[in-house]
């Protein structure tokens, strides 16, 4: 999954998408000036990408604001998918768990397929699944920081508690190696934006992420070895020449 924001140009956005092999584009809704037609131009660009569209409720600080935004997005993008963001803290941009569950419950009842931007909190995950979410989108670290997976223990725990729930690491990924780490943990997908769009060469970075995500998935599927504390020779000991 790849965001559509902050690219140097529409052409670079389109080329980054092609190189990323992303199958989903995240989008938003914002105020439109009369006669501006900016939205139509952008929508045309996204349609030409040939990918699924996941609108977000970015910037919403209350459940009611997020619900109205989701409904406007559903009408504009003609999809029931919504990446639900209810922000609770303006510095960390961490989700408001109470508003998130409230909005998710109402949107699920209204027929939306809700992709909640959440944390690694198990209780919150439980509540979101209870109200009808079928996917979880835990953060790796705060939005736009590029700090990677700040709480690997918590993310592993979340993955282990809900092995059958599709999970996307949303937010905080800055480097391909961090995406590989998340995929190796068993997450199903990565949502990227800033790490690609703000790279010096977004198209090259999109290629790097594509390969890193594939590598992580392959490694997970290959069933990695268990780490151990004691050293163990990989070369056979039996048959070594006696040279003293």
């Amino acid at each position: 999954m790849l965001g559509t924001s902050q690219y140097p140009s529409p052409a670079i956005l389109a080329e980054a998408f092609r190189k990323s092999a992303a199958s989903v584009a995240t989008v938003s809704v914002r105020r439109e000036a009369a006669g501006a037609h900016a939205g139509e131009g952008f929508w045309s660009l996204v349609r030409d990408l040939g990918v699924l569209v996941l609108p977000n409720t970015a910037g919403c600080y209350s459940a009611s604001e997020a619900i109205t935004t989701a409904k406007m997005a559903r009408e504009l993008f003609e999809t029931d998918w919504i990446k639900l963001e209810v922000i609770g803290h303006s510095d960390s941009l961490q989700p408001d768990p109470f508003g998130l569950v409230d909005a998710a419950a109402k949107l699920c009842r209204d027929g939306f397929k809700v992709f909640p931007y959440t944390t690694e909190d198990l209780v919150l995950a439980d509540r979101l699944l209870d109200v009808g979410c079928e996917v979880l989108m835990p953060w790796g670290s705060p939005i736009g920081t590029g700090l990677g997976l700040l709480n690997p223990y918590g993310l592993r725990s979340l993955r282990a508690h809900y092995p059958d729930v599709p999970m996307v690491i949303d937010a905080g990924i800055g480097l391909p190696s961090q995406a590989t780490q998340a995929m190796e943990m068993g997450f199903d997908a990565i949502l990227l934006n800033t790490a690609v769009a703000k790279a010096g060469d977004p198209v090259l970075m999109a290629t790097a992420f594509s390969r890193a995500i594939e590598a992580g998935k392959l490694a997970r599927d290959a069933d990695p070895m268990e780490p151990r504390d004691m050293a163990m020779p990989s070369t056979p000991v039996i048959g070594k020449a006696f040279l003293q």
Binding site: G3, T4, S5, Q6, Y7, T26, V27, S28, V29, R30, R31, E32, A33, A34, G35, A36, H37, A38, G39, E40, F42, W43, V46, P55, N56, A58, S64, E65, I67, T68, K71, M72, A73, E75, L76, F77, I143, L191, N193, T194
Partner: protein
């Protein structure tokens, strides 16, 4: 009457949301609307009454993460 459209004060003569969109220059643009924080679907706009002081939000597709 005076209303707010996307945070800006506007003086409009029309009373219904659909007509106000035309009067404000939105014509047949691909937009979604909300009034006083509540969603107004495209099929409701023609009959949706607007009152003085109402806050109308008009949005379109944009980049997002």
């Amino acid at each position: 009457m005076k209303i707010l459209i996307n945070g800006l004060h506007k003086d409009v003569t029309a009373q219904k949301l659909g007509a106000i969109l035309l009067e404000a220059g939105y014509g047949d643009m691909r937009v979604a609307t909300a009034v006083n924080g509540g969603f107004v679907a495209v099929e409701q706009r023609k009959e949706f009454e607007i009152e003085a002081g109402d806050q109308v939000e008009i949005v379109a597709p944009r980049q997002g993460g």
